[in-house]
Assembly symmetry: D2
Homo-oligomer: 261 residues x 4
């Protein structure tokens, strides 16, 4: 079924799970976890990971081969539009003209909440400069729409803060973002365990990106496998169309907006 | 890994998803959905389903073969201990001495909430009579413990009411039930969509039983596949050990009992 | 407005907040907190509190006068029907024929979850013996109905476990209990902070009973005042009829049972 | 206790409930509800309400007297910074130099979500122009901090969307906003019923602003009274310091970040 492929920046993918490469014990664990996740798109923090900047040191791309994976350089660690733009340009050089990037501009080091104003600025510059921009942002539907209208190829709202593991806190905003979107919406950040990933997909999003939930599980490789299945489960559940929620089976109508929860 | 097999009444199963056979459009849809679910244990309402009582009519066992599946006769539609005991004995006759049954005694037709007093009575009689009793009950940890001590081979607390689709409402009670249990705890009833099944498994239960969530999805066969993956995802996530939940990544300690939610 | 008075065992009360007397630092703190709570019904654990059993020791009734408060002796610490019945009879003696009691029979010392089977037994004996029985129980709607039909004057389901502070975990069961009830339903146990009390009242219950949430707040007297207001707020909100919940204001219909949360 | 007074733009208030004036049946209902709410600060949509712009028509200020209430003109209905600035200036003229305003710049008419970029622009202009700006915004902690640093006298993040009645969806963001703030944080929008207001106050915010929850209750005057009590209850509960949440009373430690909910 066509519907089962993710179309992103002109390319199709079978997997709707995107993964990061940070916080693993070593490159071998990184490799095994990413393999278990089934991910086809792997994001790399250009400022923290050697993808060729430091010749002679271990290079992530030796383990996560660009022949096998779509490498998605990201701007983690950037707190201004300028820094983020510069980082994307560096990535393009290192990756021989590769134009697909994940933009993130954060507000501070404590919370890692997105700085949406700087994000808008950077996105504008990058799109004009020919990048295909997948953009990390808050769950603000107005900002999400502006980023899409600016030409970003995917909008990636948070489920909750990076590294918090709090799951999908505001499904309402995500639902509004998806109702309005014409590009893929990928929930990025906040997933803590498998059910969180399923919930994201059941909301109708196009994919989920995560890093800490896998890398900081006690057993990252097994959690990667769990996430693969959870994303598929959530996607299929959304496509299958769930039963309505009722106070009890014989109730004549589903729960409505007057019930307090 | 041994841990990945469900041990139930002396037999091992690879699948931790148990399914019902009610509410499908026809026997063909039943068959396809059960196949997609990967379930190895299939429960059948003896009072509502022809498994041989009415010769000449379509027999469920022609579609769901006892050679392939463990058939689990259940007492759905029974509101007293006597009725339930009688129904189990009928099932044993119809199934040539088969002693594994799912006991459920409900409180009323409106809510389908378990009647735990009658359930205790019936369980006692059935265990003495040589049945291997898997028992549906509320999420009351005291009753769950009594049913186990009485000799039931599995205790099956509800996530929420049968046919409600409200998911796992009281994870706290389920956690207490599991902490105390020495037999498999299988969440039975309440699951509405894939993430609910994952949540049940992430609590550490041994399996999940469902019917309406699959049969009353718009596309039951696809939902069955979603549930298969969700149960596996939740199990693996539980085994893998999730990351802690924090207000933000740099917080020095996880969220605790003073935060209101 | 008549509706604003709680009618209980033939007597009316202005306050819908009932309070316990355990876990305070001393009798003076008990007195001040109860005064601040505005409660008119005060429950006393006969097994743990001196209400005359031990002459010469400080007597709670010197501080919480039966002239001012309706004293509600309770059977906290009883784990069998027999113990509970015996305790109620002792209370009746100590309180000169006082017949209003709060029955609680717990399942174990670890969780303090109600033992509903023993509770049913004790209630039956006590009602026949002329007691006016307010009965603590789980949120099991079938048991709640049986206790009412047995002649209990009020049914008191838990919000969550005694001393847990987890609030109202299963509003669905409470709603079903209230839909079916003809006697006052009073949520007893689980309230942790003011909003929990408001939520209980917004479900339509007749009152709330609490102890730990007040006694174990850092400032019990101020928390008692908070609870008084929260119970009144929740009651008024329920009477006033809340606005419906919508995804956004201009949505044409309230949220329904297909939204996952 | 000083702590019990709200200090806002150099003036103290006893009430921490701020109310709007829209959506009532008539001015008389507006007056009665506001009186019952105990509010001392009343916000008025300059673009929708006659406060002198249209001589000869009913004037809200005849009913809600500036002698009795602090009138807080707001920019509801503005979708650009320019519009909002113009509206504030008009209000200042109509109200004889009154400089306290509530700024809101929304993103679209469908969701009424704030446009934070335009809000930042308008706030900058207004602060420079000598206004005392209370500013409505999303729950984005980075934007909230910028608005404070810009010189706004109060920051007013949403609980959920205007008119949605969904309550406090993201307590985590609100907690972060409050941890960082040196001006009063007032939760504005989203409250649907009394417990929502209590929850907002239990998070430690300085006040709550609402309109629809009162005006669109079946009985607005009674709901106004409920909200008055709920805000006081939540404030007192926060000051009193709640008990910790535990799986059961005898558990040795509170619930932590590994429990999934």
């Amino acid at each position: 079924m066509n519907d089962e492929m993710l179309l992103l920046a002109g390319k199709t993918y079978e997997s709707r799970l995107l993964v990061g490469t940070g916080k693993y014990r070593d490159l071998e664990e990184t490799r095994l976890a990413i393999e278990a996740s089934g991910a086809e798109i792997v994001t790399v923090a250009v400022r923290r990971t050697n993808i060729g900047q430091t010749p002679g040191e271990p290079n992530l791309l030796d383990v996560i081969s660009p022949d096998k994976y779509t490498i998605l350089p990201n701007t983690a660690g950037c707190y201004t539009a300028d820094d983020a733009v510069r980082t994307c340009r560096l990535a393009r050089e290192l990756l021989d003209g590769h134009s697909l990037v994940k933009l993130e501009v954060l507000g501070d080091e404590k919370t890692l909440y997105p700085n949406v104003v700087e994000t808008l600025k950077a996105a504008e510059v990058l799109v004009k400069d020919g990048f295909q921009v997948m953009v990390y942002t808050s769950d603000d539907p107005i900002i999400a729409k502006q980023l899409e209208e600016m030409g970003c190829v995917a909008v990636m709202p948070l489920g909750s803060l990076i590294g918090s593991g709090l799951g999908i806190i505001n499904p309402y905003n995500l639902r509004i973002i998806m109702e309005q979107a014409t590009v893929p919406i990928i929930v990025d950040a906040g997933v803590g365990t498998a059910s969180d990933a399923a919930i994201a997909m059941e909301l109708g999003c196009a994919g989920v990106l995560m890093n800490t939930a896998i890398a900081k599980a006690k057993n990252p490789v097994l959690m990667a496998s769990a996430m693969k299945k959870a994303v598929e489960a959530g996607r299929e559940a959304w496509l299958a169309g769930r039963m309505p929620r009722k106070l009890y089976a014989s109730a004549s109508s589903p729960l409505d907006g007057l019930f307090f929860k």
